[in-house]
C-alpha cells in the first residue's frame, strides 16, 4: 500500500524519486487522483452545437465530451456497457447517437441505451435498458468556457476546487466580453516521461527557463528576457489548492512590440471593467501555470494555449495542447496566436523540444533501486513566500520552487485521501 507520507517530506521539502516511475504509485494515482479531481476535458467553443463532440481522455480513460439536444455538455466514458468497446473512434464531429461497432448497442446523446440489436430474441425482453446507459461523469462544469469533469459525485464544486486560482484564470480567460475560443486542431505528442515532471514544471519551475531553453532564448528572445538579469519584476504564486503560477514580467518587449503592442493595448482596454489594475498590468506578459493535477496554461506575450498531461503508464505521457484566442480578435491576431504556438510550444517548437528531453531522461535516470534511496531537492524559496494584498495565494520572486512544491503538498494530501470531497 502506498503511503504518500513516506514519499513527500514536508519538513525537508524533498520528494522520493519513486513517485516518477513506480507502477504501484501509478496505480494508486488512478484511484486517488484521476477518479477524484476535476480534470480539464475541453473548451465550450469546441462543441458549439447540439450533437457536437470531441473525444479525449481523463487520465487514462477515454471520454467523449458532447453537447446534447438540450445544449447541456455531458462527459461520457467512451466504452460500451456490453463488452467495453469504444463507442466513438473519431476525435471530433457531430453525432446523432453513439453506436458500438462490436455488437451495435446504441446510445443517444444523453447516454441512454436506445438500441440493442435483436433485443427481444436475444434477451427475451428481460434486459432493463435503463440500467445500462453510457457511464457519465457525475460532475461537469465550466469556468470561462474551460470545461472540467469529475468522476467523484461527492467532489467539491469546480469553483471551490479552483479556489484562489480563479483570480489567475480570470486574468487570462476573462479579458474580454466575447470570451475565448479554441483554434482548430490539436497538438498531440508522447514522451517516455512521467506526467508529473511536466505538471510540476508548469506549476512553478521558472528556474529552468534560462538553462533548458538556452538555445531558444539565445537565438530568439534573449533581449526581451533582459540579458543577464532575467528575473527582474517576475514573481510566482502558489495557492493552497496546489495550483501554481509563474509570471515573467516582460510585457511590451522591444523586438516584437510593434506586432503585439496593438493587441495588448486592445486587451487592456477591454479588460478595464473586468479585471483589477494588478491583473491588467499582467496582460501581455508570459505566464505558465498548472491546475492540479494535469491541466496547464501557457501564455506567451498574451497568446494562450492550454494543455493536459495524461499518463500512459508510469513512464509515458501524452500531451495534448490547444491554441486559444479571443472570439472577436482581429484576423491577423488569430493567425499570430496560431503561429506563435506552432513555433514555440509544440512538438517541433523551439522551446517545447527541450522540455521533452528533460522530462524523459529525468524519468529514466531517477528510477533505479539505489537512486530511489536519495530524495530529490525542492527546497528553493522555502519559508520565504509571502502573502500579498493584491494577489491571492502566496507570492515569491523567482527563481523559486514554491509552486512546484505546492503541487507536491497537494499530491500528498490527495494521495492520503485528506482532501475535502
Amino acid at each position: 500500500m502506498i503511503d504518500p507520507k513516506n514519499l513527500i517530506d514536508l519538513e525537508r521539502r524533498t520528494v522520493n524519486p519513486r513517485v516518477f516511475s513506480d507502477p504501484e504509485v501509478h496505480q494508486a494515482e488512478q484511484e486517488r487522483i484521476f477518479t477524484r479531481c476535476w480534470l480539464y476535458v475541453g473548451h465550450e467553443s469546441q462543441v458549439p452545437n447540439p450533437g457536437d463532440f470531441v473525444a479525449g481522455f481523463m487520465g487514462e480513460e477515454p471520454v467523449i465530451v458532447c453537447r446534447g439536444p438540450d445544449r447541456q455538455i455531458r462527459v461520457f466514458l467512451n466504452t460500451c456497457r456490453h463488452r467495453g468497446m469504444l463507442v466513438c473512434r473519431v476525435e471530433e464531429g457531430n453525432a446523432k447517437f453513439f453506436r458500438c461497432p462490436y455488437h451495435g448497442w446504441t446510445y443517444d446523446l444523453e447516454g441512454k441505451l436506445t438500441g440493442v440489436p435483436d433485443y427481444r430474441k436475444a434477451y427475451h425482453g428481460d434486459l432493463k435498458r435503463e440500467e445500462w446507459p453510457l457511464l457519465q461523469a457525475p460532475k461537469v462544469s465550466s469556468y470561462h468556457g474551460l470545461t472540467f469533469a469529475c468522476l467523484d459525485e461527492h467532489a467539491v464544486s469546480l469553483e471551490e476546487y479552483l479556489g484562489d486560482f480563479r483570480w489567475y484564470l480570470d486574468l487570462q480567460f476573462n479579458r474580454t466580453e466575447s470570451g475565448m475560443m479554441t483554434l482548430p486542431g490539436t497538438h498531440k505528442w508522447t514522451l517516455k516521461a512521467n506526467w508529473k515532471f511536466a505538471a510540476e514544471q508548469f506549476g512553478g519551475d521558472n528556474y529552468h527557463t534560462m538553462w533548458a531553453h538556452e538555445s531558444g532564448v539565445r537565438t530568439s528572445i534573449a533581449e526581451q528576457f533582459g540579458g543577464d538579469h532575467p528575473w527582474t519584476n517576475d514573481w510566482e504564486a502558489k495557492t493552497r489548492e496546489g495550483h501554481g503560477w509563474i509570471n515573467f514580467a516582460f510585457a511590451d518587449p522591444p523586438g516584437i512590440a510593434e506586432v503585439v503592442g496593438p493587441y495588448t493595448a486592445w486587451l487592456r482596454r477591454q479588460a478595464r471593467n473586468r479585471l483589477t489594475p494588478t491583473q491588467i498590468e499582467q496582460i501581455g506578459c508570459v505566464h505558465v501555470g498548472t491546475v492540479f493535477p494535469n491541466f496547464s496554461i501557457l501564455s506567451f506575450l498574451g497568446f494562450l494555449s492550454v494543455r493536459v498531461w495524461n499518463p500512459r503508464g508510469p513512464t509515458q505521457l501524452d500531451a495534448w495542447s490547444w491554441g486559444m484566442v479571443e472570439r472577436d480578435a482581429p484576423a491577423e491576431i488569430v493567425k499570430l496566436a496560431r503561429d506563435i504556438q506552432i513555433r514555440t510550444f509544440s512538438p517541433a517548437g523551439i522551446f517545447e523540444q527541450d522540455d521533452g528531453e528533460m522530462w524523459s531522461y529525468c524519468t529514466e535516470a531517477s528510477g533505479g533501486a539505489y537512486r530511489r534511496r536519495f530524495p530529490l531537492n525542492y527546497q528553493m524559496g522555502a519559508g520565504h513566500e509571502r502573502a500579498d494584498a493584491d494577489r491571492p495565494g502566496l507570492i515569491h520572486p523567482p527563481p523559486t520552487e514554491i509552486g512546484v512544491f505546492g503541487f507536491w503538498e497537494r499530491w500528498r494530501r490527495q494521495m492520503a485521501n485528506e482532501e475535502a470531497r
Partner: protein, 165 residues
Amino acid sequence: MDRVGLRQQLEELLYREAWLLDQDRLEEWLDLLSENIHYWAPVRADMNRGKEDFSPPLRLAFFDDNKDGLRLRVARIRTGAAHADEPPSRVRHLITNVQVLETPGAETAKVASNFLVFKSRRNREENLFVGCREDTWQLHGGAWKLDERMILLDHNVIENITVLF
C-alpha cells in the same frame, strides 16, 4: 526538357537535399530554399472517412515556417545548447515515390515524394517519421529552389520532432 529528364533532375535534387540534411550541412540546405519559402506540416486527426481537413489556414500545424523561421531553427541547433539534439541524432532520410505532379511553367515544378526518416540518438532512443511531401520547386537563375513544401506526416500522436523533412 522531357518529362523523364525533368523527373531525374528533380529526383537527384531531392536526394542531394536529403544528403545535406543527413550530413548536418544545414546551412547548405538553407541555400536550396527560396527566400519566400513556405514550409509547413499540418497536424493530423482521426476523423470519419473523407472528413479530415488539414488545409484551413488556422488549423494547427507541426511546422509553419518562412525562411527566417528555418534560419532560426538552424541557428538554434548551432548554439550547441539545443538539448534535445545534443549529442546530435543520427538521421537518415529515405526519399522514394518521386512524382512530378505538374509543371505549370518551364520554371516551376510541383513534385511529390514519400519519406521515411529514421532518427537514432543516445543509447536506445529511436524514432521513425513517415509521410509525404508536396513541393513546389522554382528555377531561380538556373538553379532549382524550394518555394513551398507541405509535409504530410502520417502520425497523429507524435514524438519530439527535432528533425527537418
